[in-house]
Amino acid sequence: MMNKLIFGRYVPGNSVVHRMDPRAKLLLSFYFIGIIFIANSWLTYLVLFAFTLAAIYLSGVKWSFFINGVKPLIWLILFTVVLQVLFSAGGGHVYFQWGIITISQSGLINGVYIFCRFVLIIFMSTLLTLTTPPLELSDAIEYILMPLKVVHFPVYEVALMLSIALRFVPTLMDETEKIMNAQRARGVDFGEGNIFQQMRAVVPLLIPLFVSSFNRAEDLATAMEARGYQGGEGRSKFRILKWQMRDTWATISFAVLTVALILLRA
């Protein structure tokens, strides 16, 4: 289950979006979240949706993945929307009023806008994680953090830590599974009883997991040292990122989108 949460996310493929530079994808995704707030009319949201759906279409990933991306957050979104609808004392026609609760025309419209914003952000970030392997994302983060080297932030080390953490997630998942089975064999029942009993059952799971993680860390440190690791300075890089024409085009299309939004804004 957990495995699906983290690693089932990347959908291998060979589309234009898959082949984009992860730095471009990461930065443009963040940029997208920023420019969503320029939109303030039906037309601008329509443009944003058209743009997002076009990007999804280019990635060749099935629509259902994106719908599934929204599902876990649907209650949070609806909660926010309901708050917006009930408590915004905006202008326009007032349909209903009772105490501090006001349902107005502008409140309803704002609610729909917020819903659209959530969906757009989720679609775009889902697109990023579905088309970019975690390792490439960590490379992109390393590159983006590079300027922090000026203030002696250990960028290489952090990037290596990130990639080692990613590499050990499946290993620790396996280990958890093994420990759970060992505990089950001794009569522990996971997933039964009330919430407190379930939480109690997790404790004998966590302790062996922690102990073995520390042992692994020590072994790994020894192996790294034996293989000549002396810190990030002076290392060459095996994986490199290449900025290509398609990344430039993607950036240009985002610039065009920004201009369009500013012009169409009400």
């Binding site: 590499r167 042992n215 020894t222 034996a226 060459s236 095996f238």
Partner: protein, 280 residues
């Protein structure tokens, strides 16, 4: 200079040990270039500690270690580590890279080797251990034997003169063990590699030119595998595992049972046990 490793009067004490307790006591031996030396001994006899002293992962209390003409010291330790490749016991806990190719390249990255050269060496090394089709795989999708072969590919790419195997096959299934040993034999044939293998496995010890027996931190015996294996049952005391079927046979014999004198595989042993009653 005829020896590639020269250990003289090595003493080692872990920081938490008292002054008169030593994990390694007065160990001296030499290894000739291209030789395959097996180090056997009980758990806790100090074999792994010895291996970690050789490339400076641990610092000796007394004695000198000379590797390829360089005396091990704080100045030479990084040089010496490029000459010694070390493969450890747990296949998972030494896999640094997020993919097979990344892991093979790790030592090369540490040495600051240019990327073009790295690409060539990584591809060649993976080919040599027959893992070229797995280059972009993640370690979670490999078997233990495959992971150890990737570790060996990492060594091949870094081109060390000495390979130390610290119980590198002990966590593998019989098939993985055979694959890894075959790869090591083939590596040895391809270059003048010196191999030091710390092991409980009788097959691995039998592949060596020479066997060193360590007990309680001291070098007890040294000889060719044939000389050492003559000890029979005493091998167990030295820390070598007799094959499981042989141990079971010995135990049954002590119970006064008639057992076949010929060597049995595990399957042969199981068949014999099945039929034990009905044949009577």
């Amino acid at each position: 200079m005829s020896s590639i490793i020269d250990v003289e009067h090595l003493n080692y004490r872990y920081p938490q040990q008292a002054a008169d307790e030593l994990t390694l006591r007065d160990i001296s031996f030499t290894v000739a270039p291209g030789e395959w030396v097996a180090i056997v001994g009980h758990n806790g006899s100090g074999k792994s500690t010895l291996a970690k002293n050789l490339n400076g992962l641990l610092a000796p209390a007394a004695g000198t270690i000379t590797v390829d003409g360089q005396v091990l010291s704080e100045e030479t330790v990084w040089d010496i580590r490029t000459k010694i490749g070390m493969v450890f016991q747990n296949p998972d806990n030494q896999f640094v890279g997020a993919t097979v190719a990344d892991d093979v390249a790790f030592s090369l990255e540490n040495q600051g080797i240019p990327r073009d050269e790295m690409l060539k060496r990584v591809a060649a090394a993976l080919k040599q251990v027959d893992m070229q089709d797995f280059a972009t795989r993640e370690p979670a999708r490999l078997s233990g034997g495959q992971k150890q072969r990737v570790a060996l590919a990492g060594m091949i790419a870094a081109q060390p003169q000495i390979l130390i195997l610290d119980e590198a096959t002990s966590m593998l299934d019989p098939r993985g063990r055979q694959e890894v040993l075959a790869t090591i034999r083939q590596m040895k044939a391809a270059s003048a590699l010196t191999v030091l293998s710390i092991t409980h496995d009788i097959d691995e010890a039998a592949s060596a030119n020479r066997v060193l027996v360590i007990n309680d931190g001291e070098l007890k015996e040294e000889g060719t595998p044939a000389e050492i294996f003559q000890h029979g049952e005493e091998l167990i005391k030295m820390g070598l595992d007799m094959p499981y079927a042989e141990r079971l046979k010995a135990a049954l014999k002590r119970q006064g049972m008639q057992v076949p004198a010929t060597y049995l595989t595990e399957k042969g042993m199981a068949d014999w046990l099945w039929q034990l009653r009905s044949n009577k």
